[in-house]
């Protein structure tokens, strides 16, 4: 589903912030992306949500080489991806409802269907009574739930979240990751960039670790345990 081959990224004429990235993700997989601050997590995420093009290497998503796609094809590909940004990026002049409805409107869904879908999802994230509220009047946690609802409203094939638990306490963070876990079980491929080690430890998923622009893959504890058991 996602394949990075010898991918590198640099900004302008600066040094490479990502160098020789290689990994493959199968449909329905769940990965944490971690690493120290400035390791390049956000840059890698921007390649994944097609916000940037790599300066070298080959990126294949949903079976298509993104370097060979025109603007319209890229737009259609982006519609299959849901993103929760670190700073939420909600549109402050729009209500919670309209923020969540935005991806559906972009995809051209009828207003009647939009209303049904958005109302249901806002209830699911426990924001039904705030649907006409402007984001600026809501708490950080509520804004985050709107951002999550917006990312999943289209039932994306790939869900990306950049430090989604950054501003949350551990318990709310855990509930949010559990929500992503549920979505993953429903078939969505999930990649979560986080540096919250303790929180990631509570989930048994493979980790992609970035350090100084280089990527390494760390297997989950269950895999290690299975491996050790099979050895002895």
């Amino acid at each position: 589903m996602i394949k990075f081959e010898h991918v590198g990224l640099r900004y302008g004429v600066g040094p490479e912030v990502l160098s020789d990235i290689n990994f493959t993700l199968e449909p329905g997989s769940f990965r944490f992306l971690s690493g120290p601050s400035g390791a390049g997590k956000t840059s890698l995420m921007s390649l994944l949500y097609l916000g940037r093009k790599p300066t070298r290497g080959l990126v294949t998503m949903f079976g298509q080489n993104i370097g060979q796609l025109d603007r319209k094809q890229l737009s259609r590909l982006r519609q299959k991806i849901g993103v929760v940004f670190q700073d939420f990026r909600l549109l402050n002049h729009m209500s919670a409802f309209d923020n969540v409805a935005l991806p559906l409107r972009i995809q051209g869904m009828s207003e009647k269907d939009i209303k049904n879908n958005v109302d249901e999802l806002l209830e699911w994230v426990d924001l039904g009574e705030y649907k006409y509220a402007l984001p600026s009047t809501l708490s950080g946690g509520q804004q985050q739930r709107i951002a999550v609802a917006r990312a999943v409203i289209t039932r994306p094939r790939l869900l990306l979240a950049d430090e989604p638990t950054g501003n949350l306490d551990d318990e709310i963070g855990f509930r949010l990751l559990s929500l992503f876990d549920q979505l993953n079980k429903m078939g969505t491929t999930v990649i979560i960039a986080s540096h919250n080690q303790a929180l990631m430890d509570r989930f048994d998923h493979e980790r992609l670790i970035l350090d100084q622009g280089n990527l390494s893959i760390h297997q989950p504890r269950s895999w290690m345990k299975e491996k050790l058991e099979s050895m002895f």
Partner: protein, 318 residues
């Protein structure tokens, strides 16, 4: 505000207006009034310069058609040696020329001006007979007005030679020399008026493009977000062009009303003075329709400019 109709608690929370209009906060931009006002001013200028161009075309047309196919023959009361000729001789020569011209088939109508008519013509310069004019000291010339058949080419040289045989001092004037000068002048003014129309059109395009670019840079984050959600270039362009169209329509309609009032006032002022040189001018139905269609033209131009500017800017996004 719709939100004012909602319960106080919800208002306190800061509710968004329920009806979604734009994904970008275009309605809240402080520059909206500026764009509308600028377009209103452009419309007024366009109306005035177009009306000027219409008027000049009309005036040039009337001058040209009024004098086309016409000529006059003057039989001066002085011979070629500048010696005065008595009034009877002048009258006799004038009558002979008139009789000769009657045989010319290219001429439709010959009018020999009577003495009273000639006196009336020179009155502004020389005064009245018996007053400033003494007919013995100031003998009057003979004047013949000619109308040629429509489309008939005037054989100016042949005619001049023929009348010179009757009265050597007689002069044929087809008005072409001064008419050409005046038509060149009105042509230049009309060209200038059309250039003003073009410049205003270009200024409108540049202004709209600048305003749209400013918006695009002001809403860069929002645009990027829409882009990342899979909004195509056309989707984003549609929003900005719709908003620009509404602003342009508002501005140009106001401009049309104000411009119409200015033209009406101008017309009132001009019609209260008698301008001998200028013929009366009123806008034709076609010209009025053209002016009334200006808001549609300007709004269309604004819409197209906005769309192209947005599309050109969005191409720079990955």
């Amino acid at each position: 505000m719709l939100s004012n109709l909602l319960p106080k608690k919800e208002r306190y929370l800061g509710l968004a207006v329920r009806k979604r209009r734009y994904d970008l906060p275009l309605d809240r931009n402080a520059g909206n009034k500026f764009i509308s006002m600028l377009i209103a001013l452009m419309t007024i200028l366009l109306m005035l310069s177009l009306t000027g161009a219409f008027a000049l075309s009309e005036i040039a047309g009337r001058w040209s058609s009024g004098l086309e196919g016409k000529a006059s023959i003057e039989v001066p009361a002085k011979d070629l040696n500048n010696v005065l000729i008595d009034a009877d001789t002048v009258q006799k020569q004038t009558a002979e020329i008139a009789i000769f011209l009657e045989n010319d088939k290219s001429i439709d109508k010959i009018t020999v001006l009577r003495e009273e008519e000639i006196l009336k013509l020179v009155e502004p310069w020389l005064g009245t007979l018996g007053g400033n004019i003494n007919q013995q000291d100031t003998p009057l010339p003979g004047i013949i007005s000619l109308s040629f058949h429509k489309g008939q080419e005037i054989n100016e040289d042949g005619l001049q030679k023929a009348i010179e045989k009757i009265a050597p001092q007689a002069r044929l004037d087809t008005h072409q020399s001064w008419l050409n000068d005046i038509l060149k002048l009105t042509g230049s003014l009309r060209f200038a008026a059309h250039m003003v129309v073009v410049v205003i059109g270009l200024t409108t395009i540049v202004t709209i493009a600048g305003a749209v670019r400013t918006r695009l840079s002001a809403y860069k984050e929002e645009l990027e977000l829409l882009h990342l959600m899979g909004a195509g270039d056309a989707y984003i362009a549609n929003q900005l062009q719709r908003h620009t169209l509404i602003l342009a329509l508002q501005g140009s309609i106001v401009g049309l009303i104000v411009g119409g009032l200015i033209l009406f006032t101008l017309n009132m002022l001009l019609s209260s003075h008698e301008l001998a040189l200028l013929p009366d001018f009123t806008l034709s139905t076609g010209q009025k329709t053209t002016l009334c269609l200006l808001p549609a033209f300007i709004s269309g131009l604004a819409l197209l400019t906005a769309r192209l500017t947005v599309l050109r800017t969005l191409v720079q996004m990955p």
